[in-house]
Structures are given as C-alpha cells and as structure tokens.
Symmetry: C3
Subunit: 453 residues, 3 copies
C-alpha cells in the first residue's frame, strides 16, 4: 500500500492542534474543530472545495429525535476548604461532565461526591462522562485526586449556557463523474481524546485531500459530525442523498498501535465489506487485521445500518472502542497515537476507496476460448519472470470472468490478486479491444435499498 502520499508529521501536528479544544455534542468546540480542519484542508489540497459547516437549530425534529439545546461551557471548577481550585475545565476538557448545567453553590464534600466521577482501578486517569439527555452537572477527576480531597465545604462553579442554539457538522463534497456517492463518516463530539477521535478526523481529512487531487468516478462525501444525533439529523435532512450512497464507511480509533479491525455492515455482503476482507486477507503489511461481524452497537454505522435507512456501512478502527484501557479516559492522549499509525490508516482507506471507486464491469468480446493475445501485443514479455507470470494470470482472470456478471472487485477477490493488478490488466485488454465496459451507470451496489433516487 502506498503510504508515500501521506505525511505523518503533518497529521500528528493537526491532532496536536485539535487536542486541547473542548468539543461536545454541540457548541463552540465543534465549530473551532471544523474551522481547524477546514484550514488544514486548504494547506493539504489548495484546490479542493471548502469543508462547509452546517448548523441545525435546536428543537428541530429529526426522525424520532429532537435536536438538543446547545451547550456552551466557559469555565468550571470545585474549590475546597484549602482554597485550591480543582477539576478545572480550563485545565482539561474532560474535567467537566459533558452537558453540565450551570451552577454556583457551596456544599459539603459528602454531598459533592455524588457529582464526582473517577476510576478507582485507573487512579491516574480522568474518565470521560456526559449527561446529554438528563440535566445535571458533575466533575470528572483522577481517583488519586479525589481521594486526596480535604473534608469540608466546596464551592462548585460551572459557567455554562445550556439553551437553544444549534448543532454543527462539517461536510466536504468532492464531485465525481457520477452522482453515486462514497460516504466517509467520522465523529467530532469527543473532547480531549486523541484516538477517539482526533485520529478519525485527521485520517478522513488526509484521505479527502488525496482524493481532491485525483479523478473520481463517484462523488466522495466526507462528513464530520457529532455522534448519534448528528448522523440521525443528517439522514433525516437528506432523504434524496441516502439513495445515492453506494458505499459507506465510518471511521474512528485509527491512531493507536493495534491492528486494524473492520466491522461488517448489517448483512456483511456489501462491496465495502468485500473490499476490506480482500485487503485484510491479501495485504501482508496489515498483519493481524481482523474482520468483525456486525452488531448493532458501536459508532454511527448503527444509524446507517438501521432497517429504515438501509445503507450498508462498515466501520474501520484499529483497536475497537472499549478494548483498550485508555478508552474514554485522559489516558487517550497524544502519546497514545502516532503519525505512523495514522499514515498507515490513510493508505488503507485510500486503497479501499480506490477499489470502490474504480470497480467496473466488462464483457469479454472474444469469449470463445482464449483470444490470441500475442497478435495484439498483449502477451506481456517485460519485467521479471514472476511478475510477468502474475500479469498474465491477471489478464486470463479478467478474460475468463468478464461474462457480464462479475466486476473487477469480484475478480480480484476470486483471483486473490491485488485490485491494482486486475485493474491494470483490464485497462490493457480494454485498450486492446478485447473488453466492453458494461458498468451500469447508476447501479447502486452495496446497499440493500435499491430504490430510485
């Protein structure tokens, strides 16, 4: 896989800039994040369309849900009898329970305890907690700090607004020859957590920048949105787009040192499922990459794969959520991710999306036995013997399988050969007049809902 087009230092630096921003489901942190992403995109791909920011007003009904109030947190802390401010929001965005309502009061430590969250088994990490749909307030802190709190009365201070505003997401559309779309989706609602999900944002942005420089058959759409409600709102507002999405991939947790995990879409038979299975089985550089069966728990693939939506979305991670101890704690900081890991993820996603975009169906125009390749100069004699043998095998596979029912992805999977080699053989045969391109112009493979647009 070609990792050369991606720059690990650049990607890591982006994560460093995003890390301190206090994101939540809504509010200024998401907007600042999207601004930083948009600014970086201009750097990476000056000619790319802009990453647009979209606002949806609180109170809007989106399917079964209502867009929540906006949360604007400015500062928060607790101050004990020793006068020291602790669990200060401005020190670490995890200190404040997400969606805490404003409060300024005093209470004894015993009473405060029910508003404090820590992890006894991980005494040096601050846990990540939210209360989106039940109004309350709270503080998260290390268990070591909590244990050392002196007895006495505590001043509790949360300077925040929680009221009508809007929910914000970012969207980048790279138009292609067709309006069939490849959708790449990643969540932006987590505060200072590096792997979950600065990694997903930076990989999505770098892949978008790489695609901005390429020809595209499909339209590629990259969405940076808050989890659950963001996806539900987007889906509710774009009924016409839903029908155009041919392939969909949700991404997160891509910066740690673990092997890749791809979670299948609902039926496990979409093109995106087959592409990742093929890559995991044939790209030895991916090591112990693992295919996981679908389950209805996880990231926003949950919404895409719901029965009424029917978009077969896979989900790519390295170590899956919940399976590393740093998950949803301050341990998931910048030291937990690396530029190398991000770059390898970019290359994998690039390769997968290139397969999805480049898939074609051909019909062999000389299907009676093998055509005589030699007289057309298609009997390759350059390169080393093994390479030549592989190229010839790719040619024979394309000829043998191109009966109208199989696409290049099908052929690569069956031949267990790299897609690029199959694609190259097909291109040579097409140029040699031996194939006709019969790719349906508006076929919607990979999605159970085959309805008209």
């Amino acid at each position: 896989m070609s990792e050369a087009q991606f720059d690990g230092k650049q990607l890591y630096a982006l994560c460093e800039r995003l890390y301190p921003i206090a994101r939540s489901l809504t509010g200024p942190g998401v907007r600042a994040t999207l601004q930083e992403l948009a600014r970086t995109l201009v750097e990476l791909a000056p000619d790319a369309p802009a990453l647009e920011t979209v606002e949806i007003a609180s109170g809007e009904t989106v399917f079964d849900w209502t867009v929540p109030d906006e949360w604007v947190a400015r500062e928060a802390w607790i101050r004990g009898p020793d006068g020291r401010k602790r669990a200060r929001f401005s020190d670490h965005s995890l200190h404040l329970l997400g969606y805490s309502e404003p409060v300024h009061t005093t209470m004894p430590l015993a009473q405060l305890q029910s508003h404090l969250f820590s992890m006894p088994d991980r005494p040096d990490w601050i846990p990540y907690r939210t209360s989106y749909y039940r109004r309350t307030w709270g503080f998260c802190l290390t268990d070591r700090e909590r244990a050392s709190l002196p007895d006495g009365d505590y001043e509790v201070y949360v300077d925040a607004d929680l009221g009508p505003g809007s929910l914000t997401y970012g969207e980048l559309v790279l138009p292609g020859e067709s309006d069939r779309e490849i959708l790449v989706w990643t969540h932006v609602c987590h505060p200072s957590l590096a792997n979950d999900n600065l990694s997903g944002m930076s990989v999505a942005l770098a892949v978008a920048a790489a695609w901005a420089r390429r020809n595209r058959r499909h339209t590629l759409r990259f969405v940076f949105a808050p989890g659950t409600i963001g996806a539900i709102a987007w889906l509710a507002r774009h009924p016409q787009l839903r029908a155009r999405i041919a392939h969909a991939l949700v991404m997160s947790n891509l910066g740690d040192a673990g092997p890749f995990h791809y979670k299948q879409s609902r039926d496990g038979t979409a093109d995106v499922d087959r592409v990742f299975a093929h890559l995991f089985a044939n790209e030895s550089s991916l090591g112990e990459a693992t295919i996981l069966p679908f389950e209805p728990y996880g990231y926003d693939e949950r919404q895409f794969n719901s029965p009424g939506i029917g978009i077969a979305a896979g989900c790519l991670t390295r170590t899956p959520h919940g399976l590393y101890p740093q998950y949803h704690t301050s341990g998931d900081d910048l030291s937990f991710i690396s530029g190398t890991a991000l770059v390898q993820a970019c290359a994998l996603v690039m390769q997968a999306t290139r397969m999805l975009d480049g898939d074609r169906s051909y019909r062999n125009l000389e299907p009676y036995g093998e055509p005589q390749l030699g007289k057309r100069g298609l009997y390759d004699t350059t390169g080393g013997e093994n390479e030549r043998r592989l190229r010839q095998l790719a040619t024979l596979w394309v000829l043998n399988q191109s009966d109208g029912s199989r696409s290049l992805i099908d052929i690569a999977i069956r031949a267990r050969m790299p897609f690029a080699m199959i694609e190259e053989a097909a291109n040579a045969l097409l140029a040699g007049g031996l194939l006709a391109d019969i790719t349906p112009s508006d076929a919607r493979s990979g999605s159970p809902d085959k309805g008209s647009r």
Copy 2:
C-alpha cells in the same frame, strides 16, 4: 435452563413403575403403560386434558403397511432335563422373543439352540430380540446361562395369542391459540428397557404436564406410540393434521449419563434444527452436546422425514441408539438412568419448545436510525453493568433486525443471545409502541410442505 419445575424423584418413580411391564408392538403391555402414563399425568397436572388411548384394528391398511395381529403373551419358559424352568417371561420380559407364536413341545437342546439368542461378548446380559413379520418363537437369555444348559430334552412353552386385535397408541392434545401444532413423539413398544424408552416416555409426559400449566400459542400434541408401524398408522390416519404440524421432535434415550445429541431433520434447516443448534452452542450447562446430520436410519423421524410426508422432525437423545453397550439388552435397566438426567432433558425440551412456541416476527415502527429509547423509559438503567449492557444489546438487536424478514429465533441466533432475553426486549419494545407484531397467523415455518390445510 430452569430445571426447577421438574422433579427427578417423581420421574424416576414413574420409570420404576413402567419398567416391569412387558410391552411390545401391540398388546396389553402397551395399554398398561399408557394407563400408567395417564394416571401420572393427572397427578402432575390435574387440569390437563386426558391422555387418550386409541386402538387401530389389525388388518387395517396404512400406506404401504398393514396393521399387524395383536400379540398377547402370558407366560413362557424352557424346562430342561433337570426340571428347572429357565428364560421365564414372567421373570424378565426380555426372555421371550417379541411376537413369538404359541408353542408347547419338547426337543433336544441341539435343536432348541436355533431358537435361543444370547450375547457371547456380553455374557451377563439378556439381548432384546423380536420377529414381528416372520412367524417363529424364541428365547433370549444370558450367554452364561445358555452355556450352562444341561444336555438333554427341553420342554418349550410359550403361552401367547397372536391374532387379530388392535394396535394401541396414546395421545395428549393441549390446544393453543392457534391450530398450528408442535408435535412431540416417543415410542412405547420396547419391553423392560429403561433408557430405551422409559426415559422418552417420562420426559414427554413431564414436559406435557409443564405445558398444561402454561399459555400456548401453538397446539401441543404428545404421542406415545409403537415404533415404525405406530407412526405410519398415525400419519396415514391424520392427513389433515399433517399439514398443521409446524414443528416436530422425536425423543428417546434421555436418561443415561451421556451428553445430548440432536439429529437434524431431512434438510437440517427447520426451526427445530436451528433452535437446538442455538441451545447447544449457547447453553454452557449442556456441555458436549452435539448436532448430528440427518440419516434415514433411526427412530420415527424416519417416517416424518419421508419424501411423501415432509414433516421436518428432529430427534433428541443423550447417547444415540446403538452407541452404548447396554443398548437393547437387559443392561439397559433402571440403574442405567437417573432422575437428574431426566430432569435436565425435560428442561432442555421445555426450553426448545418454548422457543418454538414463542417465536414472533415484528416490524420496527421507528426504523430510521435508532429510536430515542430514553424518552420512552426503554433505556434500561437497573441491574448490574454487564446485565444492563446485555439487555441494551438485546434491545438494539431486536430494533435492528425487525424489518419484517426475521423472527425472534432468527435474532437470538444471530445475536448469540438467550432467546428469553431477546423475547423480553421485544416485549418491552412492543409495550413501548416501537414494534408491530406481524407474525403470520397461519405460517407454517419449519416444514417443507407449505400446502394449505
């Protein structure tokens, strides 16, 4: 699995009462057995309908067969030169070859030998032998006794009638909301053999009693019949019932200490096959329970799975027939079975039939993304964290899969979760207005013959 509703001592005591009765394909032994079963049912479930006894006259044509003459054996023995009566029927019902014709004669030992059956490799056990369709007589005895027979003339005495009469079977019907049926079938034609098949009879009776105390969607039918000819006669006489049988299970050999074996129906794809595969894979208490592929040899699943009948019947045993040395010998006595084994079998059959009876299909009424469970009080917050997580996962599986094409059994299998947990989640969602029940009222899943009634 809940074994609490079954009483091992009670079941074992029933087997003790049935053991001495000299059963055969027809005759008073079968009638006495059915009487004892009927009496015990009244004890176990006073409000249950009666276990009815049905008689079919000898000579009646049933498909390709004819109901045979009735055999009434009263006494039999051989008496040698020492004056001692041996192989006395009244001592052990296995001593007399089943369906022996009456005889009273004298012959030298050498001539008698061709009428004697023993097992040289199991010198202390009496073998079980019959000659239903070729008229002869014979005696079964231990090889040790046979070897000790003194030379000389033997008086041979078989006091039996073999002539027109009837074939007897027992039937218990528990009507349900629907006339679609779950059929539980077990054979009653073996004499004093405990595992084969007092175990099947006692488990079927206990399960029937348990179902008599429950609401039933399906009609449950329990049949206690002689092997082969009993099933053929029942099928020939009930063409209209055949079409109503949605699920069928044959049972035997359920009292020994071996692990469960479930033999699949003809195509291995019936609901009953899937239910047992699910239970065997997910109920760790079942240990080394094994699924066996269909083969056309065995118990009366042979008749149900024949091409003209097309009822997909599975067969549940512990150690399968023929695979334990005591099989079809006097070694299969009351010491070979235990109340504990019977109770575990009852609990397994109960759980399987509850899945078959309780299967429903639902349609998710808020299928666009996930519905907001919190606002409906469906976001479960009680119980331990792991239990809560499992309940939530069950809820998400039901919502995700309820697109009209999948039933609760399908969902439990896919989720690898206990059916009861899936069913509970579905009930809560139904109560919360998120599901519509779309179970077809007269669907005949699980049977290849989908013809009208």
Copy 3:
C-alpha cells in the same frame, strides 16, 4: 476401485513406443502418434470404432485464431570447430526449439549463444522450448554440454519445412443410448516427454477401450489434440456438439508417483467436480488426493471454461504441471512414469466416468413413511452384518432422497457412500416397483450453458 481391467505393462509399453516420436503442434509426429494410438486401440478393444484422424488446413480461422503453418522437422544440429555434431534432433526431439525455421549457416559461438537454451540449475537436463508464433530457430541442450562447447565458429543446420499444411487431431466416439456426451480430452503436442503427456494419452486410450466393452447411456468422446489451438479449432468447428457435452474432463501428467489433483471447473459446481470431490473424500486408496480451485491457467480446460463456451471441464493430473522439477525437461522421461501409476489413473477415470454415465433420478413411489421392504423381499438378509447394515442404509437413503430433485450422485455424496452401492440399492428398488425412473432424457447437467441443442 477396480484396477483389474487395466494392464500396466501394456500401457507402459505403449508409452515406450510413443516416447521417441518427435511431436509438435502440427506435423508428422502427431500423425505417427495418433496412428500408434489407433493401432493399440484395435489391440485393446478389437470391436471399438476406429480412432479417426482429422486434418484442419493451415490458415483456417478458428474464433480469434488462425490455424498455423505446419512444421516438418527432419534433422538439426550444431557443429563446432572440433567437427562434432551436437544437440542433434535425431538424438532427442527436445534438442530442437519447436517450430524452428530452416537455417544453414555458420556463426561464432558468441553469436550462437542467443539461440541456445539450457538450465543452469539443472545442468543434466535438456529444457523443452517452442516458438510457435514468432519465427526463429534455436537449440536446447544440457547446461553441462553448453558449458563445454569449444570456442570458434559453428555450423548451424536445421532441415525443416514451415509452411501451409494442416493441424491434426484424433477423435474416438463411442455412441451411447443418448447423444448427450462425456468428453475426455488430452493433449498430443509435446515431444519426448513421458508424463506430459504420454501418460494422458495412454490413460485416455485405455479408458476408451474399457468403455468400448460396456453399455453406455452417454456417448463418450475421446479427443487427442494439440494444446490450445487444437481445442480452439475443435470448439470452433463443432458448435452443435458443444451443446451436447454434459460432462468434460481434461487429463495429463498421470504417470508420476505423486497423488492425484483435480482442478475444478470454472464454477466448481459441475457434476464432474462433485464426482471427483466424492471419490477423493471417500476412496481411501487415493491417499492425499487434492481438489484444486479453478484458475484460468493450465491445460485445455481453459478453453472449455471460457465464458463464450461454458463447458464446465475439470482437469485431472497427478502432480500438477510445473510442480515437479522434471516438468518440461528431458528429466520427464520413461523412468519418471510407471505402469502402476497409469493403471490407478485409469481406474479412477473409469470410476468417475461410470458415475457420470450411470447417474439417474428416481421418484419414490411409496413415499409416505417407509415402504415395507420385507414383503417385497427387499429387506436384505445375506452377507455379513456390517455389509447388510450398509446395504440397508443405502436402500433407506435412496428411498428418502428420491423425491424427484436428487440424483444418485447427489445421494451418494450426501450419504458418503460408494456410488456403486447406492446404484445397486436403486436398481433393487426399481426392480421391486418402488421407484420410477424420472431421469430427464436430454437434461444437460453439469454445464452452465443450458441452451437447446
């Protein structure tokens, strides 16, 4: 498997007679080979129809190809400064590059080198090389000899004609009750190479002779043709035959000591695929026999399995081409093959073709439960207990599965029993009036192209 009908000495002697003949794509060597095969067939099966020789004129268009000029090589050598003739065609047919154009000239060794072929890693073997479609000349020799060539000028002599003539193949048709065909195909274009492919020719001939002595439901066709162009020419000239081919098998490399390998047809689901899978799984005498997935590289199964032809052909070998070091070298001589290996191959092909020819579909005429076998004398009581049990099981399988959708091959596979035992059971049931033969008279199973003839 019965190997008794084949004579290893006879087969090996045939190979000895064929070995020295200088075969190529066209020319007198192929004709002499076919003559020898025809003569041997008369010996093996005096009443068999003749093995006919067919000529196709150079220049004829066959699909995308043109039948090439005929090559007639008489003598060739190189003579160095020491006056010794080396790499003499009359010493070994591999010495001359196949399809060398005539030449008589002198050149220094340095210049000659580009026309010489040897194997540095196998210094004692002459490689096999051809240049069918690019006009040149060349010599093949052992690397040891090449290294010892004295410096100086070499006289180069190739006495050959390369011009219009014809391509030759042999064909033997054994008519059957039906005009549906079983096609056995083997290549004849290789010079003095024993395993590749005197083995294929001799096995095909012996199997043909064996079939000439048997009743045949199918018409059996054996073709001995040059590789690639031979198959393409045959297919192009027989459009009407293509539709009649129900089963097809390509054979080569059958004389070495390695285990059998069967390469599946394009979709891997043809009857011939299922038959070999069944035999490999159930015939313990075959040892480590292996099923290989289809790939579009290999022998003439490539042409049959092309999308426009659609004949599902398998390919049987022992060690597959290219996987033994002697492949395409003078090391593949008569010492590399054995009569024992050839006979075992004959027996395997015979058994497979007998299954393909003998497959029938029946309908159980007493499908309601089991018919009463005893009253029809079908309840087998002869033979040892185990054999009796197996015969009874075969009978029950045939009765159970004969619902009109399954053939004897299906049943043998499902029962994991020898086809002959299933066939015997079916014959007895047919004779007993319990089965009706519903084999479609012109069904074309095993081929994806089900078009009318």
